[in-house]
């Protein structure tokens, strides 16, 4: 059971590699050479990885990667719940930016997260929202004049 999502991941990579290689069939040689040269080993390695993960080769400590490991000292059920929650918040922030634009969604998100998720005190929340707004406005808008779109909703209403 624990192996299944792992195998799915390598399966997804196989699929992507195969699709990418197929896409090169129409291309002239100087465009297609590099993706093909990389794509074939990619596909082969992904297949090997998939087979190994199905066979259930366990990840002993001897096969740890040089990267950080997700924390294990939290109960798995709580961990899954928190993971999904944070992804929802991140996705929500992105949607807010697309729909409402940066200027509105930044204070909105900071406020919503601090109050809704973290349940912090009002004063602290408002101060931090102000700080977030200040960083955004003073630095990115006033100083750097970066173009921030207004957000889909506002543009449709215009």
């Amino acid at each position: 059971m624990r192996l299944k999502p792992e195998a799915l991941f390598s399966l997804a990579i196989i699929g992507a590699a195969a699709w990418a290689l197929l896409a090169t069939l129409d291309w002239p040689i100087n465009t297609a050479l590099y993706p093909r040269v990389i794509g074939v080993p990619l596909l082969l390695l992904a297949v090997v990885e998939f087979v190994l993960s199905l066979k259930g080769v366990p990840a002993e400590t001897g096969q740890q990667t040089m990267d950080f490991a997700l924390s294990v000292d939290v109960e798995p059920r709580v961990a899954v719940q928190r993971t999904i929650t944070i992804f929802v918040w991140i996705g929500g922030f992105f949607l807010a930016i697309v729909l409402l634009g940066f200027a509105v969604s930044i204070p909105l998100f900071v406020f919503a997260y601090l109050k809704g998720q973290a349940k912090e005190r009002w004063l602290l929340t408002l101060v931090l929202v102000g700080l977030a707004w200040f960083i955004f406005d003073a630095l990115f808008v006033d100083l750097l004049h970066l173009p921030f779109s207004q957000g889909l909703l506002f543009r449709l209403l215009r």
Binding site: H145, L146, P147, R155
Partner: protein, 365 residues
């Protein structure tokens, strides 16, 4: 504007008339009405008269120049330089800022200025000069028509030359035709003048060149020339000039757009063997005359466009601007908006036969 003044007057009169009171109050109201009428008349006089002779004012506003490239490139540096000197030539001394919208060789920025930006004269676009060629070959993703922009003009042209390493014995075009072995010319990729110019020279003028494409930037090409890995390159005169002065390379020929220093070089179009060849080369060269184009969104009010054009023209005559531009390596030559539009139309109305051949060589990238 006259309409809103009218409406305002009518509303005011209605309100004043509605003060329906009696007796002593009536006397006071009458006096008030008379005073109000005088004030109104005076106000109207002040407002309406300048409405006809009024210059659009940018006071208190912020003008944005949207550049289709990341900071640091040629288009961006030109826009920032213009932004520095523009305010003093615009009525009301507005703030002028530069915003970068890089992507797809400035197609993204052009789409934005054409479709999204407001037509209030406060947005100017600075894009790739070759967008018109992209429109000609119908590149996907372009959601604009170059002829519909409110053209302000171009501040400089782009001069393309072909330069060969000085220690090689070739000096003239005829030498290059007879060159043996073939000369290795470095290029960054299709769509840049480093690639397109030699491509046409080889195809039509039969210069014995082999184009090695893929260098990350034109400076890397220069280094490869020093290493003798390459024998020459094409490119803008201003960027090759330091190396000509140093004696590393020697200019052999040029394209249509020119500056005094290279005016004597042979022009590719002049040497074209057929009319079609000449037309194809012209298609490539013509946008270089409007080397640094500036436009306003379509539908910008004509008086604002006029004000912008005048301001730009005066900037290009400003002595300090010219000095700074010279230091930055730009040769300033103002091409006015009407002229620029004419050139754009000239490109887009090229005969289909010529366009077909052009498309075999040109790839918008």
């Amino acid at each position: 504007m006259a309409n809103s003044v009218n409406a305002g007057v009518r509303a005011y009169v209605t309100i004043v008339k509605s003060w329906n009171v009696g007796g002593v109050e009536k006397m006071r109201v009458e006096r008030m009405r008379r005073v109000t009428a005088f004030l109104l008349a005076g106000l109207l006089l002040i407002l309406l008269t300048p409405a006809y002779a009024q210059q659009p004012t940018f006071a208190g506003k912020t003008l944005t120049i949207v550049v289709g490239y990341a900071p640091g490139g040629g288009y961006d540096r030109m826009a920032r330089m213009v932004a520095k000197y523009l305010p003093k030539y615009l009525a009301g001394n507005p703030t002028v800022i530069v915003q970068n919208m890089p992507g797809a060789n400035s197609i993204i920025a052009a789409n934005h200025v054409y479709n999204v930006a407001k037509r209030d004269g406060l947005t100017i676009g600075a894009f790739n000069r070759n967008l018109v060629l992209g429109q000609l070959v119908k590149v996907e993703g372009m959601r604009f028509d170059m002829t519909n922009f409110a053209w302000i003009g171009s501040t400089s042209n782009e001069t393309t030359i072909l330069a060969i390493r000085s220690d090689l014995p070739y000096r003239t075009v005829a030498d290059l035709v007879k060159a043996d072995p073939a000369l290795f010319i470095g290029a960054t990729g299709p769509g840049a003048n480093t690639y397109d110019f030699p491509l046409l020279l080889r195809a039509f003028l039969k210069l014995n060149l082999k184009i090695i494409s893929g260098y990350p930037s034109s400076s890397d090409i220069m280094l490869a020339i020093e290493r003798k890995e390459l024998d020459g390159r094409a490119g803008s005169y201003s960027s090759i000039k330091p190396f000509i002065d140093r004696g590393l390379v020697r200019p052999i020929m040029r394209a249509r757009a020119s500056v005094p220093a290279i005016a004597r070089l042979p022009v590719d179009e002049d040497l074209a063997p057929t009319e079609t060849a000449k037309a194809v080369m012209a298609l490539r060269s013509v946008p270089e005359v409007i080397g640094r184009p500036f436009v306003a969104p379509p539908g910008t009010p004509p008086e604002l466009v006029r004000a912008l054009r005048e301001a730009f023209e005066r900037v290009t005559k400003d002595r300090e601007f010219l000095a700074e531009a010279a230091a930055a390596g730009f040769d300033i030559e103002f091409v006015n908006g009407d002229e620029a539009l004419k050139i754009t139309l000239e490109v887009l109305t090229a005969p289909p036969g010529v366009v077909r051949i052009f498309q075999q060589f040109f790839k918008f990238e």
